[in-house]
Amino acid sequence: MTIRLFLHSLFLVLFCFAGTAFAKSEDIDLSAFAQIPILHDGRIKPLDTFARNELIRFSGKSTFEGQSAVNWLAETIFDPVASVRQNIFKIENGNVRHLLGLEERKKPLYAFTELTTGLEKTFPTVEQLMGKDAKTLSGEQKALLTLHENALEYTQLLRSFSLLLPLNVSIPSEWQEKLDMTAGEPATYLSLKKIDTQLEQQILAIIKKKGENPTRYTPFEQQTAVLGWQIKTIEQAAQNNTLFRVIPNDWDKKSGEWIAPWDMISSGKGSPRSAEYLKLWQDLAMAWQLNKPQEWSSASLELSYLAPGTLSLELLYNQIGPFQSALIFFAVSFLFTLLALSLGRSGWLIKFSAISMLVAIVLQGGGLAARIILLDRPPVGTLYESILFVGLVAPLFAILFERKLKNHIGLLCAGLMGTGIGLLGLSMADEGDTMKVLTAVLNTRFWLTTHVLCITIGYGWCLVTSVLAHMILIGEATGKTDNETLKSMRHSLGTLALTALLFTATGTILGGVWADQSWGRFWGWDPKENGALLITLWLIWIIHGKVAGQISPLVQTAGLAFVSVIVGIAWIGVNLLGVGLHSYGFIEGLFWGLGAFALFELMLIGALSFRISQKEASHETA
């Protein structure tokens, strides 16, 4: 169904529910509601995760005006009339705002009711855009398309329970009798469904007798015709509404399918058990609308029993936000170590930094462990996940070297990498659900555990190598590091480079074996493959150059410092190209960030190397 049809029917449907907009309760406990399971994007998740992802999709934030995402979700599904007036649609593109005729605001957030006219106006443009290749679309066109997609999803959400919410429709007394309704009792689509065949027959009889001009009908006939039209409109507006899959399919338990209420009705998947679940959802809706916290808690608790055990872990994961929390502790650790080193290694500062680092690593590791349990697969299936994983292993490796160096440089490196990688991860987490089901080619525990873990561990070692090389360059250029420490750091640098080479080379070869199994060839000069090879060749070049005496220690250190850029290109850069067989990893939007990072590194390493070579030249002259 097109969005146009959705929009046309929206106001009628909302009008039908207009009498039901009650104030939401402050006393309603949402904890059990947040745990109710839903099948979304191929996996069972708690409503809390679903609500957060949907709200992030629309507004870019996981909370709404200080309220939790589940609170917003409850209002949206149980009180759609109030929900459409909430400013949840974030439209950052100024041209799109102009196209939709929206007023400029400090925060570009708009209510659905403000968008409908503009959405309808721009629909012909969107229809044309939908036929085009996404790569050829401008930023403005993509933003417009995304807004229409979001609006469509939102209307599905609004109508998730339109079959059981009380309707504000006028029912002639004759029909009330047939429905066995008492006066004042609210009707729902499901209750009216019992008379729809009779209603249809009656309307056909009226048309046959008096034609299609309603002015010739008696008041009862008019009311009957309007009622029939309202039922049909609600039904049509909810066609293909498969978003809110909260009811397990009793007839196909093996497939693990869950169904949305409207889909259950229209596809004949209802069962005695689904009737019980739907009754509980109706109780929830009524408890929300009539502000009855006790009834709400009882119904939401019963529905939350459907949740598998792991969902409470996901709720805890959502509440803690382990990676965001870890980022704070990594940053604290980095700042305290920097302060300690600047002030001459004050004992308590280092202790505080070490404790922060420990907490950060526990949080990062705990978050990854939770993801392994929830997704039942290794923790590195997507680019975002590889960032989380490297965000754990790189600081860990640096800590290992701290045990050897014992000069707090390892701790400083760990803090710096934890913070940098954490920020990168944070920038990618605002895209919505980070626990996506993998594409078929990636859905193998064996290769995710061997190849992907190996190559990402390799990235981690490379980053530690690069950061240590930076430290050496800074130490040499500023002259603030003594020769003994520099010697020890250089020795460690060689070991780190070899370890990085071992993991990246092994990972690259394992990737070739996987590619041979999946795509029938070991090597295809795919951008991702070339990226992995680039790191390996770069490391081989530096290590061999040093062993053969062809490059100076300075070039070796500068070359290893530059590994960060090579890793950046291989890890993230090739995904920006949007070509090759690794399509599941394609991303957009990091081009300028990566470019700025590469330029910064080039300038920093170049400047430091120039300063060191000048110092060396003056030393030789002296």
């Binding site: 499901l190 469904k193 093996k254 998947k269 209802g270 069962s271 555990t449």
Partner: protein, 185 residues
């Protein structure tokens, strides 16, 4: 340092062992497991009574030990009308099967008129004791209890009184596929 290396090595071996167990997806043969789980997954039938057109009342639990076809239909529903004679023929041919044809018609007269229009052979078979024609007053069983809105729908109930499958739409009640299904009930 040596001690640390030994600890790391021991941890790596334990991790490798656990990983091998995790990566090993082998289990009981898939088909056998699937069949077993299908049997276990059958939901129990809710308790309800049926009043036949002749006025006799039955409890659904009365039919335990027999296969039950609970057919939701209406005389105004074209696919229901098409499959009705086939269902009757199937039921008449098997002593171990009960057909409950639960009509969604508003008026009893409409059902009786529909039955009266059936060919004589079908009318004769309708006299079988294992065929029960009933009207679902107020759609209480069809919609409230079984959440059935897409007529015709038929629920296959096994001999233990559990719901095995729901067939949505009309189907070939005399075909081999269905015979195979019934044999598993």
């Amino acid at each position: 340092m040596k001690q640390l290396n030994l600890i790391v090595l021991a941890l790596a071996i334990v991790a490798g062992f656990l990983l091998t167990i995790w990566l090993d997806d082998s289990g009981p043969p898939a088909q056998q497991a699937a069949q077993q789980s299908t049997q276990d997954n059958r939901a129990p039938l809710p308790v309800f009574d049926i009043t036949a057109l002749d006025g006799n009342t039955y409890k659904i639990s009365d039919f335990k030990g027999k296969i039950v076809l609970l057919n939701f239909w209406a005389s105004w529903c074209a696919p229901c009308v098409v499959e009705f004679p086939k269902l009757v023929e199937l039921a008449a041919s098997r002593d171990d099967l009960i057909l409950i044809a639960l009509s969604n018609d508003i008026d009893k007269d409409k059902i009786e008129n529909f039955l009266a229009k059936q060919p004589d052979a079908i009318k004769e078979k309708l006299k079988s004791s294992n065929i029960i024609i009933s009207r679902d007053e107020g759609k209480k069983i069809t919609e409230d209890l079984f959440q059935t809105y897409k007529l015709p729908e038929t629920i296959l109930i096994d001999r233990k009184g559990r719901m095995a499958e729901k067939i949505v739409g009309d189907t070939d009640w005399t075909g081999e596929e269905l015979k195979a299904k019934l044999s598993k009930l």
